[in-house]
Symmetry: C2
Subunit: 461 residues, 2 copies
């Protein structure tokens, strides 16, 4: 930045307002002020909000988006994985219902890394996963993990580093010092109607993921009725922006557009999702978990491929499935949970640990084929049974949630159980039951089958 020409926040806003491209210096100066309000010339909340709305309506070109992401990424502390001299990779999902792939992918990749240590004896692949909590109608990895007694998601960056070094994976929550600009911007976006911008979503997600010091990143961008992005084109646009931004930052980035038209797997909730994953890792494959296992292997397959463990993503998916079947993933899982101070004895009888106060079964009102549902509505039903928060920072129920007994496209008899609802509070079942009953559509003819993965976006695409 040229000290001869100070940058004024108002000029930055004016340039974006008029559809001009912001310079790297303008973006860095603005975001530096966002993160440090004591900075002379730091923008006011009103100025930040004006710029957010201008970005919402004018968009950002690839260089501006990379600059914004980078400025946010470096607005606070950054996790430094370089001293591990290993290959770092992570997966990020844009959020879904019953989406528990993180609980399977981290041990699969950790197992692969433990099997191929570096010369210094460190896992050859590490997954430094910084996760989130339940948001809107979607579940959160941290909320699921914290149903394991003792599991600590609030590690310091040093503990995170040490866990990666010994286990090959660690799952923690956002720390106060990582990417502080995102926290401030998100709070303002939330009440200024600037949340849904694909540019601002990309900068928010990618600044946090890139702060993990990644060699590669696989993005699971949801599309369908349970995705935050409502149209396929919107999901694809977001996927392209994220891949472009990761690539410009020097991280190999791939995005998969995947179906979120129904809950993924058998269970949706918190502990029930851990239980489903433990079953799979212990070798029990419930028929309702088939789509979860398929998506897990596809995503892990891409990660193993990017980490150099397979020649193709398809070969990687086969390797992922072998790591699951062999018990290596479960062994890595126990190691990771123990490193996070979690009580691994609950995995001995995971079904027994599930203690809903009350259950209710939703039976098919008519015969036919399970044709469709509004999966966002299903997600809200799960949240309202107690799996989500009534207010920010409040508790979530470990045992609330639902079990799917049928999947889209299946033939249904009248009266057949479709969904079992669980809650720790009887009064929380009536409304979700009605929501589910109203959103499940049964038709006389089967719906067209939909692939789980719709499209893969790579930097060269």
């Amino acid at each position: 930045m040229n000290s001869q020409t100070p940058i004024h926040a108002t000029d930055v806003i004016r340039h974006k307002r008029d559809g001009l491209s912001l310079t790297t210096e303008e973006i860095q100066h603005f975001i530096r002020g966002v993160a440090d309000q004591s900075n002379p010339g730091a923008p006011t909340d009103a100025q930040i909000a004006a710029l957010l709305m201008a970005i919402f309506l004018r968009g950002l070109n690839p260089q501006e988006l990379a600059d914004l992401t980078s400025a946010m990424r470096f607005s606070g502390e950054v996790f430094d994985a370089a001293p591990l001299h290993t290959f770092t990779i992570d997966k990020h999902s844009t959020g879904g219902v019953g989406d528990k792939t993180s609980l399977l992918i981290t041990p699969i990749l950790a197992a692969a890394g433990l099997a191929h240590p570096t010369p210094a004896g460190i896992p050859g692949i590490c997954v430094p996963m910084i996760s989130g909590r339940s948001l809107g109608h979607t579940g959160g990895t941290l909320d699921k993990l914290e149903t394991i007694p003792g599991f600590n998601t609030q590690l310091s960056l040093q503990q995170f580093f040490d866990t990666l070094k010994s286990c090959g994976a660690s799952l923690i929550g956002q720390t106060p010092t990582l990417v502080p600009a995102d926290r401030l911007l998100y709070a303002l976006r939330d009440h200024t109607a600037t949340v849904e911008s694909p540019f601002l979503i990309t900068a928010s997600i990618m600044s946090k993921k890139l702060a993990e010091s990644l060699n590669a990143l696989v993005l699971d961008v949801k599309t369908g009725s349970g995705a935050f992005m409502k149209s396929y084109d919107d999901s694809k646009h977001l996927a392209n922006l994220m891949v472009q931004t990761g690539t410009l930052a020097g991280t190999r980035t791939v995005a998969l557009l995947t179906a979120m038209d129904q809950p993924l797997g058998r269970f949706s909730g918190n502990w029930v999702e851990v239980w489903e994953c433990v079953d799979i890792m212990q070798g029990t494959r419930h028929p309702m978990s088939a789509d979860l296992i398929e998506l897990t292997n596809i995503l892990s397959g891409w990660m193993l491929h990017l980490a150099g463990q397979s020649d193709t993503p398809e070969a990687g998916a086969i390797l992922s499935n072998e790591i699951l079947r062999s018990g290596a993933a479960y062994k890595a899982w126990l190691k990771i949970v123990a490193a996070h101070n979690g009580d691994i004895s609950v995995f001995e009888k995971p079904a027994a640990f599930h203690k809903p106060f009350t259950t209710r079964v939703l039976n098919a009102p008519t015969a036919g084929y399970l044709a469709s549902m509004d999966c966002t509505e299903v997600g809200w039903a799960v949240q309202r049974m107690g799996a989500g928060r009534l207010k920010p920072g409040g508790p979530v129920s470990a045992h609330a949630g639902l079990e799917m007994h049928s999947k889209l496209g299946e033939k249904i008899e009248a009266g057949q159980p479709l969904i079992t609802l669980f809650s720790e509070n009887e009064s929380l079942l009536a409304e979700p039951y009605e929501m589910l009953l109203n959103t499940l559509k049964i038709t006389p003819t089967p719906p067209a089958p939909q692939p789980l993965v719709r499209e893969v976006i790579t930097a060269s695409a």
Copy 2:
């Protein structure tokens, strides 16, 4: 407003962001919160800024603009002229250099009103003019009036009412209780790069003018190098929006698009402008004041026509000139100034009251025709000689300014005086001198003559 469906600021922002039309209730609710921050649900500065930027980029339809203007107009106290049972009319200019028509128009209209009293003995026309101060490169009527010793521009609304009742015109500054929403919005617009929106400019100007309780309003919308709006189309768009908004509010509104390519009249500054007007009202017509007198008569002519004193605006202009020539305007002027506690003895020898510390003459560097100038640059030169403020709330020099010795299109000899610069501080002359020298263009052939009034916008146009 339906109490069943509370209005949230975020929804209002989202609707405008998405290009939807805001409802009357949404706009009223939002502006009520702007004016009363103690209101539950009052928008934050960030929310206001986000809405301002969304309006900047999405615009407002005629009903939304009328609703915003109305909500702002009624955000505080409103001047009520109804008990006068007279015809209220005002003129507003979008700002220029040397534009002192307000100082002539108010006494001309007051004289016409005093000559035609109502049955209750009140002037048949009243001009309740609430004016502003120097802004950017333009002068301010209040700053000019306050060079008259004792002149009080800070009357209470009751004193304003009483002055109108006795004199037919009064000129005051904005009060803290009138249109408070505009003050808050303007302060935010100023640092969020949302000043230049024709929609927000219209709402700001028209909310304050309509708060004067007007039967009719004549707008002098400047166009050319000294206007805030840089293109003719921008000026015309603003004029159309203001006429449309005034008309929807029930005030007969006319806009004239007038040339601001050079300073209007002989002098630009503060006291020097009062002096020029007093000369004219006393019957001395300096050749350099010809354009000022012409524009004054045209604007007053429209006002007299709208007030029912002439069949046509053209006949009104002739009547205006008669009121000036007869001395009736000067008589009304003395009455108005005295009612504002001003010392009218300074008008006996206005030239003697002009006391610049130093003067400098800019002579023509070459022979030819005075072809053009950047009139905004000329305005800034006047401000920097001391006529404007170095910081908000600071003092202005009464005697700084300039005198034009030539007008655009005139034949010039090399070395002939073009402009005399005045300042109370020798050190403030060098930069303005260079600015003026650089911006005056002298060409071998005469420029095409330009009319003073380019276009008239009426509600039916």
